[in-house]
Symmetry: C2
Subunit: 340 residues, 2 copies
């Protein structure tokens, strides 16, 4: 059984209050006692008891804000489910979670919501739009003592507490490795990305190209286009690509829009359809896996992303523990028809 504050106080002959002040660095303790208590705590290997901490924290009742560009984006459904799950589990610990969703990727809108949440919450979780004003706002909040966690997408050079989300490069590598297996290592592939301006998408493409360079020289990238994460644009881009490259053996989709791509591919006769590796596991992708249009999809635990983000905020607020890593990456999962 582990050591308690009470035991430390008994052994070092001071009161529990004094031990508490030392351990929490609240000051107002004489240097001798401070040193004594520290030594005893160190030697006994004191680790605060979570149940006790949680119970005491109930009096304080923290609020965690979650701000997501989730409206109309079905990928985020699972993320939100994870957020809700964590919120439910932590209600016992006096944690309230406020969830706000916004539509589209307008940084002004996001900025406004951040400002609105600022004074209501003790921690903020968001998927930041990659613009300077958002980074500046994150830093301002952090400066203010409000911990910020970036979820699903990261921004560089910010003072966020940590990032929780996909390892984009690795998911690109997995997609390429899978394509290599589907094509037995040889063939011409096309890449469809969301936007060449989005960091995560570019990292995925870098992952694809890296694997081709290192160990799949029989594959080569014949074309690349943007879908804007939109099924209509994706359909147009894929149609064009298939017309210009009738000999395409595979398509790697590193962003959303897979349904549009599939619709374009379905217009080809069965025997001329390229193999498709997609990203994420939204309902339309599941349908296309079932129909055999998509062969595999790379997932990055959307539920866990939301769940972990809230849990990390809780740990920071209640238990005073910083995240173990600056970036917490999800596992890269490959799903096929039989495992969706």
């Amino acid at each position: 059984m582990s050591v308690t504050i009470k035991q430390i106080s008994e052994i070092s002959g001071v009161s529990r209050g004094t031990v508490d002040r030392v351990l929490h660095g609240r000051g107002r303790v004489s240097p001798e006692k401070e040193a004594l208590v520290r030594r005893v705590a160190e030697q006994l290997g004191y680790k605060p008891n979570l149940a006790g901490k949680a119970l005491a924290a109930r009096k304080k009742s923290y609020t965690i804000g979650v701000l997501l560009t989730a409206e109309g984006v079905s990928f985020f459904d699972e993320v939100i489910r994870g957020v809700r799950q964590a919120a439910g589990e932590l209600a016992d610990y006096g944690i309230t979670v406020i969830l706000r969703t916004i539509k589209g990727y307008n940084s002004a809108v996001q900025l406004r919501e951040m400002e609105a949440l600022r004074h209501q919450v003790n921690a903020l979780i968001l998927n930041p739009i990659n613009e300077p004003e958002i980074v500046a706002e994150i830093n301002a909040l952090a400066e203010d003592g409000l911990p910020v966690i970036t979820l699903n997408t990261d921004v560089e050079e910010s003072r966020r507490l940590c990032y929780i989300g996909p390892d984009y490069q690795k998911s690109g590598e997995a997609a390429c490795g899978m394509m290599g297996l589907l094509l037995a290592g040889r063939g011409k592939i096309g890449i469809l990305t969301g936007s060449v301006k989005i960091l995560g998408h570019n990292q995925r493409i870098a992952g694809v190209r890296g694997v081709i360079r290192e160990r799949l020289p029989g594959l080569f990238v014949g074309d690349l286009d943007e879908t804007g994460d939109d099924d209509i644009r994706a359909y147009a881009a894929a149609s064009r690509m298939l017309r210009n490259h009738p000999d395409l053996d595979g398509l790697i989709l590193v962003a959303a829009g897979s349904y549009g791509v599939c619709r374009a591919v379905l217009e080809l006769p069965q025997e001329r359809r390229p193999k498709i590796v997609a990203m994420d596991c939204v309902p339309t992708t599941v349908e296309m896996l079932r129909r055999g249009v998509i062969q595999a999809t790379i997932c990055q635990q959307p539920f866990t992303q939301g769940y972990q983000a809230v849990q990390q905020a809780f740990r920071y607020l209640v238990q005073g523990e910083s995240p173990p890593e600056e970036r917490i990456f999800m596992e890269t999962e490959i799903r096929i028809r039989e495992t969706v």
Copy 2:
């Protein structure tokens, strides 16, 4: 914030002790008060606070026994890591975990250890050997009020609290689906199982055959043999199979022994080697994935198996909650070279 016993007692005008007796069905309460308290608790949606429960439980200090046939079986390394992780996290809640490992699958040995642990622990987790005397012992323990959780392998007709482990049928389906993708739906495959007497292995084979029947008629099973979960026997069996069927396109390994199989396959010239789909992610399998001998492996979260088993035992003991399902299945994960 959620409802507490104290609030219920205040509202219904009885003491906290009475509320406790009603909620825990300890009897010695007048029918009227009982009904009243129940109604109030129901209406307010009472859910006991976990932190409070945990803190109170610390006085009792439960012990959880874990008994695994893990000696010399590297698959269990991760399971044990999961057990240890949970043990560490639950130390704060007054939980002690005793881990015993045994060598081989001798039911007499397992029985002896079960008897030895019986009086030391408040819950028992084990991977049971599928023999009548083990089933009888599990039932005897359960009769005695000692909750038993089966881990990784289940036994039928037993009074275990729940099963936590792989969905064997599904992992077989995933292996077959993957093989279908590797062979573009056509080819002759061989199956190597551990033993035709082991339920889980047979369920995996059933999964493979099911997928072939339902949607991959171009695949057919040309041969099947046993490895005894042993690399030496696996090598011999695979060598024989490859000799008898030089036209084999794929090998599905539904049990251990993959290293032995790979050694046999490596004796063939590169272009004649069959594709291999294996199970689990032990170090030798990782090596063979890296060398391109194995194309994919199906994993069933060994870490989570161990972690969850201990967590479920904790929930049952401390929080009085039975598992949500009688069988808790792990996710079926496909791993390739890029994602191990």
